[in-house]
């Protein structure tokens, strides 16, 4: 593998456990791991920080939660990979800017209030709380699936939720879902 700058490849191994084993023999500063489609079983071994090459945002979220220090998309420029390795070697956590939902801003934001939702969003919310998919909501309200998607995204964002189920629970706790 080609890495620009002051980086050198200490060695190549076929797994994180392999890297852990190699670390004892051969010190290194960071690990570049091609996470691919394989799920990480358990925690990241105790060793210098790991940058994972990921397929998508979902796996990035899971891997960061499991203890990798960085997550960048496969196929980024070598310079970006180097930047990520440099950052984690200096104690930072890195991820793609495109991974919007991984940013902790949602949790720091002021929680939504009942008045933050438009009447249409509340209608969508009521149907969402029945577990209906977008196309069924679109049918009930007589609007396009596109529009439903737009409203659902707005609801997720306002409620700081990642998933529809989470949005429903948060909205219910605001008293917005009539039971």
């Amino acid at each position: 593998m080609l890495l620009a700058g002051d980086w050198g490849v200490a060695g190549e191994v076929d797994s994180l456990e392999g890297a852990r084993g190699a670390w004892v023999e051969l010190p290194f500063d960071a690990v570049l791991w091609d996470a691919g489609h394989r799920p990480l079983l358990g925690e990241v071994p105790d060793m210098p920080p790991v940058v994972a090459l990921v397929e998508d945002e979902t796996s990035a979220g899971a891997l960061l939660a499991a203890g990798v220090a960085g997550a960048v998309l496969r196929g980024v420029e070598p310079a970006t990979v180097c930047a990520a390795l440099w950052a984690v070697a200096h104690g930072l956590t890195v991820s793609e800017r495109a991974f919007r939902r991984l940013r902790p801003a949602a949790e720091l934001r002021v929680p939504a209030a009942p008045g933050d939702f438009t009447p249409r969003e509340q209608e969508v919310l009521a149907l969402l709380s029945e577990g209906l998919p977008n196309r069924a909501i679109a049918e009930r309200l007589g609007i396009s699936r596109h529009t439903v998607k737009f409203h659902v995204n707005a609801l997720l964002q306002k409620l700081g939720a990642e998933r529809r189920t989470e949005a429903v629970v948060r909205a219910a706790r605001l008293g917005l879902v009539v039971l």
Binding site: P114, S129, E130, G131, L132, P133, R135, A136, E139, R163, R164, T165, V168, V169, A172, R173, L174, G175, L176, V177, V178, L179
Partner: protein
């Protein structure tokens, strides 16, 4: 060598039994057409088919087929909270599946996942990986057992059957936990839901007509209420069961029937179980006193 001939015959007999089971189960597994993604369904009665609701949503025209012939079907009803739909195929004489209730199931048995995407019978071998207690989907629907099936996913498995090696169906594969998260609905859940769909066209869930927020009770009333948390009533729909029962803005709901209500999910769960049309005793905290109120459970609109 005797050892190899023995293992050969075991392999052969296992292989033959799996093919037999697949064929037998397959007689009750139909193909659902009309959607971009292939899906399957299971015959519940000669003219009734259970399938994943997401496989038939939006469809004006659904057809089921066992082989080459497609028969139009109509939607009897669906429960989005379970991702389950019931179809009627008029005049059909399908072979109803033989169900194996989840009670007494043990993990570790071999299972086959049988589906019929786009008309052709497909099978995957797997294990019954675990049997857990009843749970609720995020939308409040009760599933009578958590059956964990170790089968690799493939398109067309939605609405497919999972059967044991005796050819008895353990359940139906749906995605009621959210997009692309598969779960197996056990026989008890399917039977109960199918009855409800036949009777009402949907699964009716209990309704009071209140919007609530979880609150921590002030120290002074915690001892009176006997608990730390309750649900503050912040909305009462006009004309709703709660309205008729005298609930009002500012009441704190402590208990619904026998269920303490510390969070909205408790309320959702209690209402999913509550018999519709029957009176239910609510415990509410009003003006620092615990009061009992009787409310007739309505149907969630």
């Amino acid at each position: 060598m005797p050892a190899s001939s023995v293992s050969e015959s075991v392999a052969q007999s296992l292989s033959a039994s799996l093919a037999d089971v697949t064929e037998a189960v397959g007689r009750s597994v139909v193909s659902i057409s009309g959607r971009r993604w292939p899906a399957s369904g299971v015959a519940h009665a000669p003219d009734l088919v259970l399938t994943a609701a997401h496989a038939v949503n939006r469809l004006q025209e659904v057809a089921v087929s066992l082989g080459d012939v497609e028969i139009p079907a109509e939607l009897v009803g669906q429960d989005p909270a379970l991702d389950l739909a019931l179809l009627r195929v008029r005049g059909a004489a399908l072979e109803p599946a033989r169900w194996r209730p989840s009670a007494g199931l043990r993990p570790g048995g071999l299972v086959v996942a049988v589906s019929r995407p786009r008309g052709s019978l497909r099978v995957r071998l797997g294990l019954l990986g675990g049997v857990g207690p009843a749970y609720r989907t995020p939308w409040g629907a009760r599933v009578d057992a958590a059956l964990d099936i170790e089968v690799s996913p493939r398109p067309g498995l939605a609405g497919g059957a999972v059967a044991n090696v005796e050819g008895l169906l353990l359940g139906l594969l749906v995605s009621g936990l959210g997009r692309s998260r598969r779960m197996l609905l056990p026989a008890e859940t399917l039977r109960r839901t199918a009855e409800e769909l036949l009777a009402h066209g949907r699964v009716r869930r209990g309704y009071l007509g209140i919007g609530t927020q979880p609150v921590r009770l002030p120290a002074a009333v915690r001892s009176v209420a006997g608990r730390d948390y309750g649900l503050l009533v912040v909305a009462v729909e006009a004309g709703s069961p709660a309205d008729a029962g005298g609930l009002t803005f500012g009441d704190v709901l402590l208990q619904l029937g026998a269920t303490p209500t510390a969070d909205v999910q408790d309320l959702l769960a209690a209402l999913a179980e509550a018999p519709i049309g029957a009176p239910l005793i609510l415990q509410v905290l009003r003006a620092g006193e615990v009061q009992q109120r009787s409310v007739t459970v309505g149907v969630r609109p």
